[in-house]
């Protein structure tokens, strides 16, 4: 039993905080949220040069083989800074999928360029119903080897060279779930079209249409129909990363809010001296601390190969707790945080984006419901 970070982890967090304070200030985040491309190449290059893009990638493929815990601590800092860009879809989720299912040739082709940030990859999972569960994957490659259909909520597709696309395969996996094939398709292949979705968070989400895209066996990660496990581990990694991002953002909200409550004077005293405000602030701290311990526990379980309901519990809990933090912070700040130039709404919307990505609360609670034995 040890709830502390080790020296190496503390150093990573300190470096990340420093780098992001310098290169990813709220003004930049605000600017990029309103900008259609929403990406700053120098920022990405900066963090790539620090090796962040290759943290999960093995050393022989140009990465640094960090632990899942370290990656999540980094993402927590990114959440705090509302870091813009495809770090989670590319460096965490797609990387996990390619590592889990890619052939040696595919790994060689994709991962070294992703490790140094030269190339980026994003995930195309959800379809018309917005579901991130494998049972709801309906798109399939037809008998002529062509892919038709549309994937929704594909983050940063405009910045990616590759897409990991989940499609339905014939038959069922060993656990009874519909069989899944994972494809890697370059974004410039004929028939791939992107339409931006206009999300309140300022995150760049796309509908990606596949209009008769030719698919060959080289595009298949592992074997057709064998993508289910990689799909599941990619989703787990995505849920944890979005969880870490939410905890970081909520921690930042807590700090901004408490700092403000100490200096904003009304009726002759700081509003933080009023119990109505104090009690709200106490609940912000409660939510952040409980969310963080749930997240770390789930990360630890995942890192140790324990596949139980911890990730689902953490994702459901963290999303709810952190959204609660954001909403209550708006009430404490009062009118000022309703302004576009105030950072609170960006943190709030980033949390909302995280809460719905890689399985929303309803999806994860259903996993929990099964895990606790509900019929």
């Amino acid at each position: 039993m040890d709830f502390a970070l080790n020296d190496q982890q503390r150093l990573l967090v300190a470096v990340a905080r420093d780098v992001l304070d310098k290169h990813c200030p709220p003004a930049l985040v605000q600017e990029l949220a309103l900008d259609p491309r929403g990406f700053r190449d120098e920022l990405w290059t900066n963090v790539a040069q620090l090796g962040w893009a290759g943290l999960l990638i093995p050393a022989d493929l140009g990465g640094s083989e960090a632990s899942l815990t370290e990656v999540m601590l980094l993402v927590e800092e990114m959440g705090r800074a509302c870091f813009p860009g495809p770090f989670i879809p590319s460096a965490v989720v797609a990387t996990t999928a390619i590592l889990a299912a890619g052939t040696p040739a595919q790994r060689e082709r994709l991962l070294p360029a992703m490790a140094i940030g030269d190339q980026r990859c994003t995930m195309a999972l959800a379809e018309q119903d917005g579901s991130f569960t494998s049972a709801d994957v309906r798109m399939a490659v037809d008998h002529g080897g062509r892919l038709h259909g549309t994937k929704l909520f594909v983050k940063d597709a405009h910045l990616a060279q590759h897409l990991v696309v989940a499609v339905r395969a014939d038959g069922h996996a060993a656990n009874g779930a519909p069989a899944i094939t994972l494809l890697v398709i370059d974004t410039d292949r004929a028939g791939v079209r992107m339409t931006p979705l206009d999300a309140m968070s300022g995150e760049k989400l796309f509908a990606v249409s596949f209009e008769g895209v030719a698919v060959t066996s080289d595009d298949v990660l592992d074997e057709p129909g064998h993508g289910g496990e990689a799909f599941a581990s990619a989703l787990r990694a995505g849920a944890l990363a979005r969880g870490a991002e939410m905890v970081g953002a909520a921690q930042r909200i807590l700090e901004l809010t408490v700092d403000y409550a100490k200096v904003r004077v009304q009726s002759g005293r700081p509003i933080g001296a009023f119990q109505a405000i104090q009690h709200r602030c106490a609940d912000l701290l409660r939510n952040v601390e409980a969310a963080r311990v749930m997240l770390y526990h789930a990360v630890w379980k995942a890192e140790h190969g324990v596949d139980d309901a911890s990730v689902a519990m953490a994702k459901a809990y963290v999303g709810d707790a952190c959204l609660g933090v954001a909403r209550s912070a708006h009430q404490i700040f009062g009118a000022i945080a309703y302004c576009e130039e105030h950072p609170l709404h960006l943190l709030h919307k980033r949390i909302h984006a995280g809460a719905t990505d890689y399985g929303d609360r309803v999806t994860h609670l259903e996993s929990v419901a099964r895990a606790i034995g509900l019929a």
Partner: protein, 408 residues
């Protein structure tokens, strides 16, 4: 980070489970009400059975008859007992009193009381709250005046749990005049049999008796029954209060998990309008959400346990965790009652009761938890001021010292 228990603790958990299988908790006679905190009913017999295993004194220093087992094993013991629904109600009071005696008790207290605690013979009530001193504990008026080698105590204590079936009270009384209200208070260990003590039960809304009020009419207390330094009883009490909140709620998460498992079974086996309750999406989601909240609660408490074991300061953590524990408990109880519909109201002895009629009792007792041991309001203020550094409320309480949260 490492969320696993050490191998010794895992082995000890298995030992406790085996022991519980050999000593089914429901076979022990009950002598006091289950207040719903997770430590079950009050059973002297069960306490003596724990003592026979050496588990009451397991974490004490060897010089006082303990085994110096690590704190995590104590946590494991409490978790296993709560998960089994065992009646270990008086244990927390024994643990906390022993801890205080070991830290700053007189030689007489150590010699006389520690062996009796270790054998499961001595149990304790807390005489802190008074009719006029609840959340504002420092308003207490019970007085103790020195008379040679004795103190003479006079006052009126209330909301003392299990006072009528315990052996001793820990009574906080004013011993000196001091402009600072938190000073001039002392803590006494008082034998229930001392002349001048009158202990009256308070029947509560459940129909049972858990609290007592205690009238102390010129009760003579030997000087070496002073627990801690004279006039500094409150300051010392505060040191204990924080961990008190931790120990007094640690077993709530496992106990609530036990309740939730019963609700899951009920939902899996009960239909309404031809539909299994477990298939109702709303109920299903609520049960799953409660399960996640209980996991968060369990982890928060383990984290504090780890902090205590590491000797790290916990200025607000126990207050925060207690608020969460008690409010989560109220949610579980209220939802359980709702799930059972009209059957939820039926008491244990009703032939139509479901789940043994336990839910109405859990529901009723849960209402007292956010009041006892520091109200959620007082504790949120503690979290805000000590945890977040927000300014103290200037509204008329400037005389209140930093640490003046009360408990009942």
């Amino acid at each position: 980070m490492d969320f696993s228990l050490p191998p010794d603790a895992v082995a000890f958990a298995a030992t406790v489970r085996r022991w519980l299988a050999e000593h089914p908790p429901e076979r022990f006679p009950i002598d006091g009400m289950d207040a719903g905190y997770g430590s079950g009913a009050h059973s002297h017999a069960f306490l003596r059975a724990l003592a026979a295993e050496g588990w009451i004194s397991m974490a004490w220093p060897r010089e006082y008859g303990g085994q110096e087992r690590p704190l995590v094993e104590k946590l494991v013991l409490l978790e296993e007992l709560a998960a089994a629904g065992a009646p270990f109600g008086p244990l927390a009071g024994c643990d906390q009193t022993a801890d205080a005696i070991i830290r700053y008790g007189t030689e007489r207290l150590r010699q006389e009381l520690l062996p009796r605690i270790a054998r499961g013979e001595a149990t304790f009530w807390q005489g802190f709250s008074e009719p006029g001193a609840g959340s504002d504990l420092l308003a207490l008026t019970t007085e103790a005046r020195r008379d040679g080698d004795e103190y003479i105590v006079r006052g009126h204590k209330i909301w003392s749990s299990h006072a009528g079936i315990s052996t001793h009270g820990l009574v906080l009384a004013r011993t000196g005049r001091d402009p600072r209200r938190s000073h001039g208070l002392s803590m006494f260990v008082i034998d229930n049999r001392a002349p001048g003590m009158e202990i009256r039960p308070i029947r509560n809304m459940t129909g049972g008796i858990y609290h007592y009020e205690v009238f102390l009419d010129e009760v003579r207390v030997p000087r070496d029954m002073l627990l801690g330094r004279e006039h500094e009883g409150f300051v010392e009490l505060l040191k204990g209060l924080d961990t008190d909140r931790f120990w007094g709620r640690f077993y709530k998460a496992p106990a609530l998990k036990r309740v939730l498992a019963e609700l899951v079974t009920y939902a899996n086996t009960t239909s309404r309008d031809g539909v299994l309750l477990a298939r109702d999406q709303g109920l299903r989601r609520t049960l799953a959400a409660l399960a996640t909240e209980l996991e968060a609660l369990r982890l928060l408490f383990y984290r504090i346990g780890w902090m205590l074991e590491q000797g790290l300061p916990t200025p607000y953590e126990s207050a925060l965790a207690k608020v969460l524990a008690d409010e989560t408990g109220q949610k579980v109880a209220a939802f359980g009652l709702e799930l059972l519909g009209p059957f939820g109201a039926l008491r244990q002895d009703s032939p139509w009761a479901r789940l043994g009629g336990r839910l109405q009792h859990i529901y009723q007792t849960s209402l007292s938890h956010t009041i006892a041991g520091g109200t959620s309001e007082v504790l949120r203020t503690t979290v805000a001021t000590r945890g977040l550094g927000l300014p103290r409320d200037a509204g008329g309480r400037s005389a209140l010292p930093r640490d003046a949260e009360a408990r009942s």
